[in-house]
Amino acid sequence: MYSLVLNALVRHINKNKINTKCIKYLKTSASLDAFWERDPKGGYIDTREKPSKTQIVREGLKELKTEIALWSQEVKEHFEFDPNMIFRPGETDIVWQFGSQDSLNEWVVTSDKDHNEGYSSCSLALNKHGKGLFAGELSTRVPKDGRIKRAGYCNIKTIRARKSFKRETFLNWGPYNMLVMKVRGDGRSYMLNITTKGFFDLTWNDTYHFVLYTRGGPYWQISRIPFSKFFFASKGRVQDRQSPIPLNKITNFGISVGDKINGSFSLEIDYIGVEFDPNHKEEFAYEMYRMPKYIVAT
């Protein structure tokens, strides 16, 4: 109702050609009245057909053997683990590497075309050298059904780490302080997203972002990004109260393209890893001033 009135007002202003400088103070997006989230998926429904209950039980029993093997392996690792040998400084521990077809199963590819919210298309595949290639075409054309105001994004995201028996768990990157990526981009900026989905609904959309600038040349780039440089946002809105990433509660890692430039994009990824750099002592890169309550964002 509120947005309808404002839309009418904007059209009236445009018709009568009132000084358009005052339009920037009119808010035409939906206002955020409450922090309560109804759905962890944000209202986007999964329309795929679910198999029947008996089929689910049968398939589950088939997986029992692998799950027990995985569990016994976890127990063995628990006792054989030596923290001194594992988190050595200067060594990159690779978390995701593109080499085989199985590595692609760890990623989920989405774009705004999936729910008819745009016309961008993308794919993640292995190129002829065996490296991952995230490529496609970005289009900022907005579909004309009035649901959305802006369009144009493509995204890849890892699936949530699971322990044996499909228990969801976190990626524990606490001992590390750097993210290392070997990529070859096309000169565009890509947004790296580290999701730390929490237990409570307020924290379902907690994401930490960083903009990765790629060179575009024929040479690979190894970007070492400290975790202290990631800034905190939720559902795309950068939060006023910033804090460093809780590195023991990481759920997903993702890369997205949404830099409002129409055209094709391509990003080759060799590996993504983490490293501990003892010389990097920064805790958090952004200012932590307490602003007065009436200042929302600058």
Partner: protein
């Protein structure tokens, strides 16, 4: 917070004790709010929910006891209701098998709040537990499960807060066993545990150490920091030349004098696992030194008088106390 524990301890009836526990919970909630870290509020909520549920169970068991008997401080024991109450008190302390909230909550808090949860928050539930203490199968099960779980779960940890949480679960097991035979030894155990924990937490707070790999590089600025860390850490494990050995020695002696032989054997065997864990960490801390470039090295002096005094007490106490005991 201080007055709430004192109310709990010095109260004549269960209602006053429960009141003290509730005030304790409410008073510590604002301390856990930390605007610098988002995870601290999640930890605070988890802590609040667990403690509130435990308080509810204590209240419920109190009311059941009241309906069964007269409400005085001398209670004719209704064993099942007391089982419920003991379970709730053990949950409040974080003893196994009710320990699942403890390492997660510790992980989200900063060092000063961890210190509070590890030391001060344990006093009131422990004292209340002493009023219900009997040598029965339930208590022995709790003790043995604390030992087992702290040993097995503590081995694979990288985060120092979780390591301290599991060591606290281990020490809770020892303290429960002392409470079964002689309460004065519990006081000694708790005092020594508090001193050692304060030392460790102050060192780690000053150097902002949260993970094991940070241990190997942050303490090279001042050699005393390393020595104090190692002595206190080995004290926690209960190895003879250090202060932490005294309470374990007293506990084992008193338990054996009272005819319980199997329980100390089981406790010692499972504490060996935690000792292995501590030894591995201290050995790496002594031997490993991650090289830093010269221009980043800070030559700061260690200026804390209070920490020096407490550490002196920690290092020299064992010898002083044995001399004192022999002289008296």
């Amino acid at each position: 917070m201080f007055s709430s524990t004192l109310i709990s301890i010095s109260s004549y009836s269960w209602l006053g004790m429960w009141l003290g526990l509730e005030i304790n919970l409410l008073s510590i909630m604002p301390l856990m709010q930390n605007t610098k870290s988002i995870l601290s509020s999640e930890s605070a909520i988890k802590y609040f929910i667990v403690q509130a549920i435990a308080s509810t169970i204590i209240m419920a068991s109190m009311i059941s006891l009241m309906t069964k008997t007269q409400m005085t401080s001398n209670i004719n024991i209704q064993s099942t209701i007391l089982l419920m109450m003991n379970s709730a008190l053990l949950t409040k302390m974080g003893t196994a098998p009710f320990h699942f909230w403890f390492p997660e909550v510790m992980e989200g808090l900063d060092w000063m709040n961890c210190l509070l949860i590890l030391t001060w928050q344990k006093i009131a539930p422990m004292v209340l537990l002493m009023y219900n203490m009997n040598f029965n199968l339930f208590m022995v099960t709790m003790i043995v499960s604390s030992m087992v779980i702290s040993g097995i779960m503590g081995v694979n940890q990288v985060s120092l807060r979780k390591i301290l949480a599991y060591s606290s679960i281990n020490h809770m097991g020892w303290m429960l066993s002392t409470m079964m035979v002689m309460e004065t030894i519990w006081i000694y155990y708790f005092l020594i545990y508090t001193i050692v924990t304060i030392n460790l937490v102050m060192i780690m707070n000053k150097n902002k150490i949260f993970f094991l790999n940070q241990l190997y590089q942050s303490m090279n600025e001042n050699p005393m920091t390393k020595v104090w860390f190692i002595t206190n850490f080995l004290s926690l494990s209960g190895i003879p030349p250090f202060l932490g050995f005294l309470p374990k020695w007293l506990t084992i002696q008193v338990l054996v004098m009272n005819g319980m032989i199997i329980l100390p054997i089981v406790m010692i065997v499972f504490t060996l696992i935690t000792i292995f864990m501590y030894m591995r960490i201290t050995l790496s801390t002594i031997l490993m030194n991650i090289n830093e470039q010269n221009w980043l090295k800070s030559h700061s002096k260690f200026n804390s008088m209070a920490l020096s005094i407490i550490n002196f007490i920690a290092i020299s106490s064992l010898i002083m106390i044995t001399i004192l005991f022999n002289m008296a």
